[in-house]
């Protein structure tokens, strides 16, 4: 009986460690999008919502002074330039390009 219980605990612990490890291996990268025409927090809200709908995107922030929209996304997420160009065109802005940064800012 005791052996069975010990076995169950061991298996549970092993699964927990596996999940923890699996999570740790999903890296998130930051992609900075250069966008022209953004001048206030209210103006950029709709763009943030659209970007958050993209698979793999976990958070979106903005740096108005530098004209950047910072996207945090899973490592395997690809943001296509043509798609982004159209997305920002529909928002009333001009997409200039993107730059990948190693890790997401906390």
């Amino acid at each position: 009986m005791k052996a069975t219980t010990f076995m169950k605990k061991t298996i549970f612990f092993a699964f927990a460690m596996l999940l923890l490890f699996a999570n740790a291996t999903v890296f998130a990268k930051q992609i900075n999008l250069q966008v022209d025409g953004v001048t206030c927090p209210f103006c950029v809200a709709s763009s943030k919502k659209q970007l958050k709908k993209i698979d793999g995107v976990t958070s979106v922030d903005s740096d108005l002074e530098n004209g950047l929209i910072k996207v945090c996304a899973a490592d395997d997420t690809s943001l296509d330039d043509d798609m982004l160009k159209q997305l920002f065109l529909d928002q009333g802005f001009v997409y200039r390009g993107q730059e990948s940064v190693a890790d997401c800012e906390a």
């Binding site: 022209d36 025409g37 953004v38 001048t39 206030c40 927090p41 209210f42 103006c43 950029v44 809200a45 709709s46 763009s47 943030k48 659209q50 922030d61 903005s62 740096d63 108005l64 002074e65 530098n66 004209g67 065109l89 529909d90 928002q91 009333g92 802005f93 001009v94």
Partner: protein
Amino acid sequence: MNLYRALILCALLSIGIQANAAPITTSSATPIAKGQFIARTEVIRQHADTESIEFFRDSAAATLIYGISRKWAAFVTNTYKQGRLNDQNRVRRNQGFSDTNVFARYTAYQSNHLGKTLRIAPYLGTQIPTGRENVSDEFGRLPVGLQTGHGAYNPFAGITLTYATIDWRFDTQLRYQSNNFEIDDEWRFDSSLQYRVLPKVLTGDSNAFVNAVLEFNYINHGRDQMSGRNTGNSSTLFIAPGLQYIQSNFIAEASLQVPVNTELAPGMLEQEYIARVGVRFNF
């Protein structure tokens, strides 16, 4: 006061009231994204008077904006009005929903650069007579200014220009409205300067602004043609200082609009002030 004079006063009163329908910072060429909704509500208190007449109106205005495409946006506005006129010993009141303004705006030109944008957008619309223009009380038909509607489809058109940076922005518009109900046409020219006062220095995580706002509204009405009399043009220049708190999902704002120069036909009510508190959401 005889009936004729009362009617003339009421018509003039309505000119003065309409002259203050300029909402703070609404008329702009600000981008509305395709598929985006913006809702705006405002609570407005206005006071106008002459030596013997006093007028108060409290209003709650609602505007819904929708981005049809990257260049086209549709606007619908209606207001619930509650007016009171103290005319010597008489107090007259009315309340109800106003006429509905429906219009479309087209972004004809835009130039975007890092942290700045220039946009020009003409618009065209009409006032739909959803309000009532023939309400009476024990003293007879209410004056035009106390009615909630105008009883006619009144077309209007305008053009707006916006130049915005992350530090300040300037909006201006020229607008013309044809009025088919007792009062002649209206021309107006509005300008608004908004300057970011907080945060003084932007950082990467600056997600809320406080803007100081200063607006000017010049409004000119054609002559009053009621009863075939010509009362002459009237014009008023308003100044409206205000404040805005801007976040990504909403803008809260307040302003006080006061006349600085008024040329009114005899007997016309003069605006004392218009106070506004409002909020806008995007969703």
